[in-house]
Symmetry: C2
Subunit: 223 residues, 2 copies
DNA sequence: TAAAGTATTTTTGTATCCACGTATTATCAA
DNA sequence: TTGATAATACGTGGATACAAAAATACTTTA
């Protein structure tokens, strides 16, 4: 079974890895807010290690766009402007569109059932108000991407999901529009079933672009 | 004038930045070969700084996919398998396709002339055998991307160009197929002139995908 | 009150040290 | 010779203490 993204739950754990995971997790869950300053010393103490691995983790997080590193001014939690959020959704649309196109030929009946199972689980999470709707939603998209069998593509898409995750959570918490997401995603499955790769690609693109405006309202002005 | 990618030629230079630029440049030029081990001490001495900023630079380079960091085994120059190279070109095709689609409405006659100037400069570099044909080629693509006015999109595409740069150089050095690139790119400009965004997007996609197989022959087997 | 200068805090980088994993070499038995 | 095993060298990952530079905060003075 190909793993969906929230990737690499492996347990090798150098200190830097641990710091990276720890901070990333906090950011995904929205524990740190955009603009918050991350002080290496504090975080190091929190996890029980020295500054060095934490600072290294900062570099990676900055590469991921989760954090902004300004010379001599330390590490600040990144926030997205509305424009940036739209941009990410534009990028997601073509990337996940590509993933769908590539995945399509590999999807058999068994896989369709798995996708429908994931869709159902997502809906249940949505109804119960549990905010791991966001995680389920990622699993659904991640599953399709995984089927493309393109490691770098999967990685890039996954990284974008991490960046938007805090906003997805706010969106989910503040209103329950996500319920209508059921049909939205059912349409994607239907398109996959159609066997028309370019059609499915287009449907995925439209699906992703259509959610951007809804999210956009909840974006904090940021720096 | 919007800057083309080889981005950020700014001169703020923390030590980490310097290390990052230094190593990236060496990798782009192919001074280090895939599989080579990068020893922090050596590089630190080479640039005249301590290990720490070098180690931090490694993290970013690893995020960029230029280098592989394995726990307790240090830093090794990444190489691309044929599959990975194809994958990168697939990703480039949709990303740069998107950039073209977004850039199109902003291109005026002046900009077309600039693009033609860049194309000509690229050709001249190709004829003189100077290997900064690769740089000119990047400038051409970078210019179009810049017109999309999407910072994150530009950044991602730029990162991919950096990864494939060493292979582009090998390709260029070993044969002079790049000459035929003139028409290839002229077609892209023509498509931009057509005013049909989706057509131009498609043309750019095809252009990029068509170069992958030519490059693929020159890819080292890698790990 | 505004400007200038001083002090403090942070960030960044250096230098050193150590434990542990990996890789290499040397040793020894079959 | 060959293969397995032990000894060793090396590099990595990390800790810690310290120094320099920048940014921020705080006075003091005009």
């Amino acid at each position: 079974m190909p793993a969906a993204f929230p990737a690499e739950p492996q347990m090798s754990a150098t200190a830097e890895e641990e710091a990276y995971r720890h901070i990333q997790r906090a950011l995904r869950l929205g524990r740190y807010k955009p603009g918050d300053r991350l002080i290496p010393e504090e975080i190091a103490a929190e996890i029980g290690m020295s500054r060095m691995p934490v600072r290294e983790a900062f570099r990676r997080l900055a590469s991921d766009g989760l954090v902004v590193l300004r010379p001599n001014r330390g590490c600040v939690v990144a926030g997205l402007t509305v424009d940036e959020l739209y941009e990410i959704f534009e990028i997601r649309s073509v990337l996940e569109g590509l993933a769908v196109r590539l995945a399509m030929p590999r999807i058999d009946e068994e896989e369709f059932e798995e996708l429908e199972r994931l869709l159902e689980r997502m809906e249940r999470a949505g109804q119960s108000g549990s905010s791991d709707w966001v995680v389920r939603h990622q699993e659904f998209h991640g599953r399709i991407c995984a089927l493309s069998r393109r490691p770098k593509l999967i990685h890039q898409i996954s990284a974008l999901h991490v960046v938007i995750e805090p906003y997805m959570r706010i969106w989910f918490d503040d209103c329950d529009k996500p319920h209508s997401a059921r049909e939205e995603h059912a349409v994607v499955i239907a398109a996959l079933r159609s066997g028309d790769e370019l059609h499915a690609e287009k449907v995925m693109q439209d699906h992703i672009l259509s959610t951007a405006p809804m999210l956009a309202e909840f974006v904090s002005p940021s720096r």
